[in-house]
């Protein structure tokens, strides 16, 4: 199946300082407002770069932890390769250099002198890593070789949007070497399923469609690109992570060979795969509402905030005691006792930042032995007995991710239609996903979709399973936010 949809024009202008722009009025502007007002990120001084502020970075740290644990469970080991790559390396794989040349940052001077050979700042690390794989891989005993790195990469960006498209971003990139094409494909799909889909759906609570990209959309140098596609709050698609089968392209370009069990020298098969700080953009757009971020608890820098609503008899003590109990219960919790700032303003700020549960402790409630608990994602208030508050918060946190995921699934499904021709796809793609047989699209249809600012997001088997072979049936098309 194929997904198409409108390419957003990207937001512009400075974020508003009052309330957030309503999502329905101007989604890109709403996005910018949330990024600024929730103090997630700021534009860097060099065009297209990004400052990730503590609230945004803490979300990234929790994403990293979830991903890193799964990457290690899949057998890959972390390593680190240089940020500088000799320009000549890039040129060894023809498609790769063609794909990345327009986006390169080039260092021409180092240590006060002009360099004899310019070096590029890595846009991705296939070339430098495969240079080393050629040394490390000698025998079938060295395979599979499974390496991952956490790093910054640079791709010069003319239409930057914070988290979604920035000249520098943070990511992980996996690079592996296998004896057979089947092993490589299995591993590329294992990463897609066990690392990416699992983190996106279970941790980030964002449902994703999986499939592979068309030739037009695949990674420069790959023979097949598998992708995870999410639907954002405007009905458009975001590519959230990709896992590539590289075939033997880089092995041949970098002369990586291994002796098989019979002693014959053979080229191995490879994969590479990555997800980036773009996932923070996905979280904002998939779950955010007109009041700001809504965060699944596993990724929330703080899972709960205990607010001293206003000063009064025993209020501070009760709030501190609740913070201690919640901490003991394993909840990441912060105390907000800044009573010199208005209660309303502080509440709005915690909503903006997406803290899943707020507990308000005030003198009047407390006199009656209760506190007020507010869930961020549903904005539901409940009066809870002081002694039952910790258990109530833990219970409330337990259902947030499921609720957010169910909401996102329902939203996506309501905006996904099955169509049987290109006109239907173009019509539906304006506000969501169209599932359309690839047979009626094809490369020519793909160009027509592009003319309507729609793109083929992924090719799927009719039953949605991840297929090694080309899909026999319908595919999905959707809008492109990223």
């Amino acid at each position: 199946m194929v997904t198409t949809g409108a390419v957003s024009s990207g937001g512009a202008g400075a974020p508003s300082k009052g309330a957030l722009t309503p999502r329905a009025d101007d989604f890109p502007r709403w996005y910018q407002d949330v990024v600024a007002r929730a103090e997630l990120a700021d534009n860097g001084p060099v065009r297209g770069t990004m400052v990730i502020r503590p609230w945004g970075y803490a979300i990234w740290e929790h994403l990293q932890a979830a991903l890193d644990q799964r990457i290690k469970a899949a057998g890959a080991e972390n390593a680190y390769f240089p940020v500088f790559i000799p320009e000549a390396f890039l040129k060894l794989e023809a498609e790769h250099v063609e794909g990345f040349s327009p986006e390169l940052a080039v260092v021409t001077h180092g240590g006060g002198k002009e360099l004899e050979e310019p070096v590029v700042v890595r846009p991705t690390s296939e070339t430098v890593i495969n240079h080393y794989f050629a040394k490390w891989v000698q025998s079938h005993r060295d395979l599979p070789l499974l390496i991952n790195q956490w790093a910054n990469v640079v791709r010069w960006e003319l239409r930057p949007r914070l988290f979604l498209r920035t000249s520098e971003f943070l990511w992980q990139e996996g690079h592996t070497v296998h004896a057979t094409e089947g092993d490589a494909r299995d591993y590329a799909l294992r990463i897609l399923r066990d690392v990416y889909v699992d983190t996106m759906t279970q941790v980030a609570a964002i449902p994703v469609l999986t499939g592979h990209k068309t030739a037009r959309e695949r990674f420069a140098g790959a023979i097949r690109t598998w992708t995870c596609e999410g639907m954002m709050g405007d009905g458009k698609a975001l590519q959230m992570g990709t896992s590539h089968e590289l075939g033997q392209n880089f092995a041949q370009a970098f002369d990586i060979r291994f002796s098989d069990t019979d002693g014959n020298l053979r080229y191995p098969w490879q994969t590479s795969w990555g997800v980036s700080t773009r996932l923070i953009g996905a979280l904002i757009m998939a779950h955010g509402d007109d009041f700001g971020l809504r965060l699944p608890p596993e990724l929330a820098p703080q899972q709960a905030v205990v607010m001293v609503a206003r000063d009064g008899e025993g209020v501070q003590r009760a709030a501190e005691s609740l913070v201690a109990d919640l901490t003991a219960a394993g909840v990441r919790v912060v105390l907000d006792d800044r009573t010199d700032t208005g209660f309303g303003r502080r509440s709005v700020d915690w909503e903006l930042k997406g803290v899943p549960v707020r507990v308000e402790v005030g003198p009047r409630d407390l006199a009656e032995g209760t506190v007020t608990m507010v869930t961020r994602h549903r904005r539901e208030k409940a009066s809870v007995a002081v002694g039952a508050a910790t258990a109530a918060v833990v219970t409330a946190l337990g259902s947030v991710a499921d609720d957010l995921r169910a909401e996102a699934v329902a939203f996506r499904d309501a905006r996904t239609v099955d169509v049987d021709d290109l006109a239907g796809a173009i019509d539906a793609g304006a506000s969501g996903f169209a599932r359309v047989p690839w047979a009626v699209v094809g490369q020519e249809g793909e160009q027509q979709l592009a003319a309507s600012s729609l793109s083929v997001r992924c090719l799927q088997r009719p039953d949605g399973s991840l297929a090694a072979s080309d899909p026999a049936g319908g595919d999905v098309a959707g809008g492109d936010t990223g």
Copy 2:
């Protein structure tokens, strides 16, 4: 007190492929051999850069975890600032640009075009971070502002040595803003003690001297640089981490001002502090022996290896069972059942890699109900009943760090002498540390020491305490490995 010592010339040539070069024969060559043979790192394709291989990177991950936990406990939050800094930013602080200009890498082209203004790859991030601090700091309520980032930095290096001096390295850099000079100094010292000294001595098991640098040696732009100095296995000093008081230099250069409680606009006081992948070099040189690395368990990628010595009745099963028990006991353990490779060669490799405890399971021992346990740091063998092996390994791991630390303290103390003149310092500095009164050294003496390839490592109070004021008494001088 001052420490002086010989500056090493740096190693050269390719690592040997047979046994390690003995430390006593050629320490720099031994170092290179260990880095290569233990598969810690490799030279990058661009001069001075470094590939950190999985074994080396896993050590870094454990160091990061130990440091990050302590940094957060000290109240700092992680964030991320761009790798590219406008050249003009560097020039805003006069000493800073003078110090870093010779080491800069400069990007002149991006996205296929020549840039209007060249950008530098960050050598450190004071300038770009303070540009943002000027926006974020408005009121005394915003202080202290405590930020840390984990990042790669680039300082063009003409005499690279893996981990110790590389053109690109990984580090953390903390940047803070305080209302008063006293608050800033207290925080710089808190980081030195509670984060750096604690990690170095308790986790890495390397004793360090603390004190502050002379004007000649301090960070470009700081008013005072506090330092941790370790003695390596050749008797030379390595600067392992620094914490700087920046005074108001950057606040003035970047116009960071806050309104105090009386509403007056004032310049705040700042600190910055960092440790890097150089710490891996310190681990190698402080603890390594002629058989390779010796790792304290908290930093060891694997804390134990269970080796199937050779195939035989029940051996594989017993080894796997032991691995399961050790894992359940919280030990990071790996099974080595590669019996197609000689037992001796595998043992040598695990010694090289510094795995703290080796358990050898062989058919003959097993028939008698025992396995052989070998501690890496003392190379002591013991026969242990199979049923008692897990407890024995856990007990053995429990004393490794203490043993390594005690050894390093004894080594350092044996090579540290008190002298009362420059000639004595020069004599002693050739093989260790000399403690000499700063009054008999001074700036002129410091130049004479430099002529003997010795440097003043740190200024201490006579009682070793961290003094805010200039030291009254003797100081320490030592050799420079870094």
